[in-house]
């Protein structure tokens, strides 16, 4: 985070072109508001001490003022942690068969059991683990791929842009769930693997990020600070990754949160169709698909996996919304 924080262009040293390295080092330290504050601690305090806030600090302050987003972030982090490691600490494993059949939620089985005797909580935890793994992988991969492709298209324009954007159009022409379905059959033995599902999803979902980053790059590349950097002899790679990308961080992070929820919804839908993660392993989509068959008699088998999906997707969407406001320099509801 600290490295990618958008810096105001006027204080940006075009390192590598500034001559002695000590010079650049100096600028780096004074740039941090905190460091400035520490220096006068030994001397007498000035009457008005104004500590300059960095961009990151401003974003964090604005985000913290958004109560719903902060609360959602807390819940999301908790749910992700519980999903990833919670299964180990629960007394039943997802494949364990207990002597309780179709029992409604109770203290021993907080989410009840199914007709074979599986503990539902253990199964929901396992399913959530797979879904969260897929979602985080997809968010990471699709954001990285999308940002690089969008950056190249927006920076170089011309035929690079046309080629890459026609390619993203192409990916959008077929419903991703259909491509996934066909691919799942092709690589049937790998299809049950969460890593495979995640990689394929990421290969279909990067287009959104690519479009956003391209748009940002198209407008940023005309700015004076890019011209200045180029005049100082910065290479294309340097301009793209050190000067332009940090300024696009906001929209990239916001879209990464959207990716998490899109990925979780797509993965569970695929499993629901029976084409994603397969039994004996389990996933939230698969649990709903089986739970639905007895939705009226054993509603707990149907409700809990669905609620789990909604909680994960809803909280990350609220976090994304909060971040969108926090990164928006024009928003004035919170003093930052």
């Amino acid at each position: 985070m600290a490295d990618t924080r958008p810096r105001p262009p006027e204080t940006r040293p075009a390192a590598g072109t500034t001559g002695p390295t000590g010079d650049g080092q100096d600028l780096q330290t004074t740039e941090h508001g905190v460091k400035v504050h520490e220096v006068p601690a030994t001397t007498t305090e000035r009457e008005f001490t104004v500590v300059r806030r960095s961009q990151t600090q401003m974003v964090i302050r604005r985000f913290m003022a958004h109560k719903l987003a902060v609360g959602s972030l807390v819940v999301f982090v908790l749910v992700v942690l519980v999903s990833l490691i919670g299964g180990r600490f629960w007394k039943y494993g997802y494949a364990d068969i207990t002597d309780q059949f179709s029992s409604p939620p109770s203290l021993a089985h907080p989410m009840g059991t199914d007709d074979i005797g599986h503990d539902s909580l253990a199964q929901v935890l396992r399913g959530a683990q797979k879904s969260v793994q897929v979602a985080l992988l997809v968010a990471f991969l699709s954001t990285t791929v999308g940002a690089v492709i969008g950056a190249l298209a927006g920076y170089y324009r011309g035929w690079v842009d046309s080629a890459l954007m026609r390619f993203t159009d192409l990916v959008l022409t077929i419903p991703s769930i259909a491509i996934l379905a066909v691919l799942a059959a092709t690589l049937a033995d790998k299809a049950g693997n969460w890593f495979f599902v995640g990689v394929v999803l990421a290969l279909l979902l990067w287009t959104y990020i690519a479009r956003v980053v391209r748009g940002t790059f198209l407008s940023l590349r005309e700015k004076e600070f890019v011209e200045a950097a180029r005049a100082l002899g910065a290479s294309d790679t340097r301009i793209m990754f050190r000067h332009l990308l940090p300024n696009a961080t906001g929209s990239i992070i916001v879209n990464a949160t959207v990716m998490v929820s899109v990925a979780i919804l797509t993965e569970t839908a695929l499993s629901y169709l029976g084409l994603g993660i397969k039994s004996p392993d389990t996933s939230l989509g698969l649990l709903i698909s089986t739970g639905q068959q007895a939705a009226t008699t054993r509603p707990w088998l149907f409700y809990f996996p669905g609620l789990m999906i909604i909680i994960i997707a809803l909280t990350i969407n609220f976090v994304g919304d909060g971040l969108r406001d926090a990164f928006d320099p024009t928003q004035t509801r919170v003093r930052a």
Partner: protein, 326 residues
């Protein structure tokens, strides 16, 4: 205007062609169509398999197979399924079933989204706004199959109990072998359509209403609205005549881009309600490695999506004269 449409078409055609290459590569590698034949017990003589391979053109190189397939496809020949059924009538019949749901759900979603989005924007930061915002986020985060199943398993029973007879159905797209007047048939269709349509519509509604709210807020903050108010026009006149008309335009693009997503959602919704539509055809095609069915399915969907995008582009240009045709 005409040259604009033609230019757009010239972009769309190569896109569809590229898409067909992609689709062909995807399906050609999706498994062995002869697997079922080879796996038969007692084993089929190798000569039969060889003949079948030749018959399906599998002994030719990939580019040649692609060209043969494309040539036939363009002429409307989509080949036969593994069961020997002509693909074109099959696909057409399934498409009609699915389009019924998709079109109705899209219309419902657009109407709801415009209403909710505009209302939320006009009453920004009031309980109305917060309610619609929360609902939008909720449906945005809800898996379509869960919502559909919820409506099916619980909503349908309540609704039918309310009317005292079966008005909504939860299985299939229509009652098989239905006889009766046209009115009865229409009621039967509606009864089957209502729940899947609502489920599908609410999911699209979520994203679109958020978008509509943002656009409306954008317009409401612009100078010409302030001018209209300043020169003494009534609030309601400014809202309907000045703000709303312009705030509706950007939604066109979003709806068009989402066509693919709605189709994807329809596949899943159909599964919940056991419709024999495109979704069932896709899953069946995947399970049976039915190459011709899959090829036709993906190609037709891709053409539909490209077509909708084209329509949106043209519509956008008609609605917003600032778009340059040149």
């Amino acid at each position: 205007m005409l040259s604009f449409i033609i230019r757009r078409l010239l972009v769309a055609i190569p896109l569809v062609l590229l898409s067909s290459v992609l689709v062909f590569l995807l399906v050609a590698n999706s498994g062995d169509p002869l697997a079922e034949l080879k796996g038969r017990n007692p084993p089929v003589p190798p000569q039969v398999i060889e003949n079948r391979r030749h018959e399906l053109g599998l002994d030719k190189p990939l580019p040649a197979r692609y060209l043969t397939w494309l040539g036939n496809f363009v002429q409307g020949d989509m080949g036969k399924s593994v069961r020997g059924i002509e693909v074109r009538p099959l696909l057409w019949q399934r498409l009609k079933v699915t389009l019924r749901m998709v079109i109705l759900a899209s219309i419902l979603a657009i109407v709801l989204a415009i209403g909710a989005g505009v209302l939320a924007a006009v009453k920004q930061y009031t309980p109305t706004d917060y309610t619609f915002t929360f609902l939008g986020f909720l449906f945005l985060s809800m898996p379509v199959f869960w919502l559909a199943a919820l409506l099916k398993e619980y909503g349908a029973i309540k609704l039918n109990a309310l009317f005292g007879k079966q008005v909504v159905y939860t299985v299939g797209a229509e009652t098989p072998n239905m006889t009766g007047s046209f009115g009865d048939k229409l009621a039967d269709w509606a009864g089957h359509l209502i729940l899947p349509t609502i489920a599908l519509a609410l999911i699209s509604f979520a994203a679109w209403s958020r978008y509509q709210r943002a656009t409306m807020l954008d317009v409401l903050g612009s100078d010409y609205i302030r001018l209209a108010r300043a020169k003494g026009l009534s609030r309601s006149r400014v809202m309907t005549r000045h703000a709303l008309r312009n705030a509706l335009i950007p939604l066109v693009t979003v709806v068009a881009i989402d066509t693919g997503a709605i189709f994807g959602g329809a596949i899943i919704t159909e599964r919940v309600f056991s419709w024999q539509g495109m979704g069932a055809l896709l899953v069946q095609g995947v399970v049976q490695t039915d190459v011709n069915v899959l090829l036709a399915w993906l190609m037709v969907t891709s053409v539909i999506v490209v077509l909708f995008n084209l329509i949106a582009d043209v519509l956008y240009a008609v609605l917003d004269p600032r778009i340059r045709y040149g």
